[in-house]
């Protein structure tokens, strides 16, 4: 047997080029990553600085002083408290309301499909603009909602400008914008459930409440978890609605993380404190997003089938 002839060099393709191809294809996106990682690292560095834009002479490295300072800083605890309350309140209301709407629209009828599309419009509204819309409707002078509640016996409701109703008002806007998100995901989940268990339960005359709590809910759980975590991640970082509605006010009622950090940076020009706040928020979201991504991957695998 003769040894195989070496193929013409032109036939061969460099193994290096072949191995490098995927990297080459993702390089532009990779560069984007790096571009964002730099400010991230800077933020970590800033968070360890005494750094006020109005007092450049005082700038200095102070290790974890900014963080340690938070322990005894009631402003910080207020921020943490408000952020958590806001996130949990909005997500719980949105989940319950979204689930209710999804169940109402579960059957694939023309009306239900049309409604599910129309109900998405709030979600397509920029949150900042949504806040503006509600601001117009809750204006104490001419707002239609102010008029309605005055008919109900609350003539002087101040909505966003009253500490006792500010949280309620921004929650209302958040619920208006983001409930459709919950609704559309849970609806997709509901409609993807296999019909067999439900048919069997109907044949056996199992009570509806039992079917809901013992069959529907457990089967829907992956969708509920994904949607809830997704929203929680967004909601704890809410900025647009609160800033556009009240700028964190009145007083310190709505100074959630990002609003506080924004004000620290641009009003108090305290870069160090602002960065430290953001790092803490990042740590929270990072922990949450790890849980979320696991859940999300599971669902994604299911959606695309195991290839």
């Amino acid at each position: 047997m003769t040894a195989p002839a070496a193929p013409a060099p032109s036939q061969k393709q460099s193994r290096f080029m072949r191995k490098a191809l995927p990297y080459f294809l993702s390089l532009p996106a990779l560069l984007m990553c790096i571009g964002i990682l730099i400010p991230f690292i800077t933020a970590v560095y800033y968070s360890m600085l005494r750094f006020r834009l109005n007092l450049p002479a005082m700038k200095g490295f102070i290790w974890f002083q900014n963080y340690i300072g938070f322990f005894t800083d009631p402003k910080f605890w207020n921020t943490l408290k408000i952020s958590l309350i806001y996130a949990i309140l909005t997500v719980v209301v949105e989940l319950l309301l979204g689930l209710l709407i999804a169940i109402l629209l579960q059957k694939r009828t023309w009306l239900n499909n049309s409604l599910s599309i129309v109900l998405l419009l709030p979600l397509m509204t920029a949150p900042a603009l949504a806040a503006l819309m509600w601001k117009l409707m809750t204006n104490p002078n001419f707002g239609i909602l102010s008029y309605f509640v005055s008919l109900l016996g609350f003539p002087d409701m101040k909505w966003g400008s009253d500490p006792s109703t500010a949280l309620f008002t921004v929650t209302l806007v958040d619920v208006w914008v983001y409930t459709p998100f919950m609704m559309i995901l849970l609806l997709a989940g509901l409609r993807s459930l296999p019909p067999a268990p439900f048919e069997a339960a109907a044949l056996d005359g199992v009570p509806r409440s039992f079917v809901f709590f013992r069959i529907t809910l457990p089967m829907l759980m992956p969708y509920i978890l994904t949607a809830t975590l997704f929203r929680l991640l967004d909601s704890i970082q809410q900025f647009d609605i609160i800033y556009a509605m009240t700028q964190g006010g009145p007083g310190d009622t709505l100074l959630v993380f990002q609003v506080q950090a924004y004000l620290d940076f641009f009003q108090a020009t305290n870069v160090g404190r602002s960065a430290a706040l953001m790092i803490i928020l990042w740590a929270i979201t990072y922990a949450l997003s790890n849980v979320f991504i696991k859940q999300w991957l599971k669902l994604r695998e299911k959606a695309h089938g195991v290839a």
Partner: protein, 285 residues
């Protein structure tokens, strides 16, 4: 198999009506407001009876507002134009960067690939101000403050993860055999990518692009931090406009209507893909 009782039907009907009122009324009301004069807006009690006027839109489009104190310049059309420009170019850039990467992640199993993909995904969930605040200082040094280029660059934070993960899902759903068949038929990887993978993933690319556009359009905080009035999109512009115009409520409403209209229209086009896009490809609609 319809055992629903009349009572249940009534409850359903009532609940659905309440839901529709809650979610649709604000849009409806602002829409009406945009066709009213300040006088008719300020009436107590509010009323649906009014003579529609296009003055608010006219003032926005011509950029001139007549008030008792005289005439005032409105930059709203400029904001609208900025929104169009920023969103369109950002999405286009994201598609150019994201599609090849999405293809690489879907087709080649390489170690760094998953890392890049997940880093990009984690951007989607990181607090934007974390990056924006240092960036605002960098931008000053780099001369990128208040430039379209700087804004378009940070807009990649919104568009790129979305496009990457949705389009990747579409590529993964394509049978690799189809691409293999094309290679064997005598074409290099690029011809195969261009003639087979891209056209077959087109619905996904279109959906991801539309969604990325909606998200870019609706963004508020990036431009708030990094841009001044002349580069700001509608989201920031409308808010500034409220302060500037004082009590011209009809015009504010008209500005809101003009600002949300594009995303509403696109959403109706993309509705088939909304579920998949909103869940970053985790849920099929």
């Amino acid at each position: 198999m319809d055992h629903t009782s009349t009572l249940e039907k009534i409850i359903r009907g009532v609940l659905l009506t309440l839901v529709v009122i809650f979610f649709m009324f604000p849009i409806f009301w602002i829409f009406l407001m945009s066709f009213q004069t300040n006088e008719s807006i300020l009436r107590i009690p509010p009323s649906l009876a009014f003579t529609p006027t296009f003055d608010n839109y006219f003032a926005l489009v011509t950029g001139e507002m007549r008030t008792a104190a005289g005439s005032l310049k409105i930059e709203f059309m400029r904001n609208l134009w900025n929104s169009v420009l920023l969103s369109t170019i950002s999405v286009a850039l994201s598609l150019v960067l994201g599609i090849p990467a999405a293809y690489a992640f879907a087709r080649f199993k390489f170690k760094l690939g998953e890392d890049i993909a997940f880093t990009l995904l984690s951007f989607r969930f990181a607090p934007p101000l974390l990056v924006l605040l240092p960036l605002s200082l960098y931008f000053k040094t780099l001369g990128l403050t208040n430039t379209y280029i700087g804004l378009i660059w940070v807009y990649q934070l919104i568009c790129l993860p979305l496009i990457l993960w949705i389009v990747r899902g579409y590529f993964e759903d394509l049978s690799p055999d189809i691409e293999h068949a094309h290679r064997i038929a005598g074409y290099g990887w690029f011809a195969t990518f261009w003639k087979i993978a891209l056209p077959l993933a087109r619905p996904g690319i279109a959906a991801a692009g539309l969604l990325a556009f909606i998200f870019a359009w609706n963004n508020f905080v990036f431009a708030l931090v990094l841009a001044s009035a002349d580069k700001q999109p509608v989201t920031v512009g409308a808010l500034a406009f409220v302060t500037a115009s004082g009590i011209q409520y009809g015009q504010i409403a008209a500005a809101i209507v003009l600002s949300v209209l594009p995303t509403f229209v696109l959403a109706l086009f993309a509705q088939r893909y909304l579920v998949e896009g909103l869940s970053l490809g985790a849920v099929k609609g």
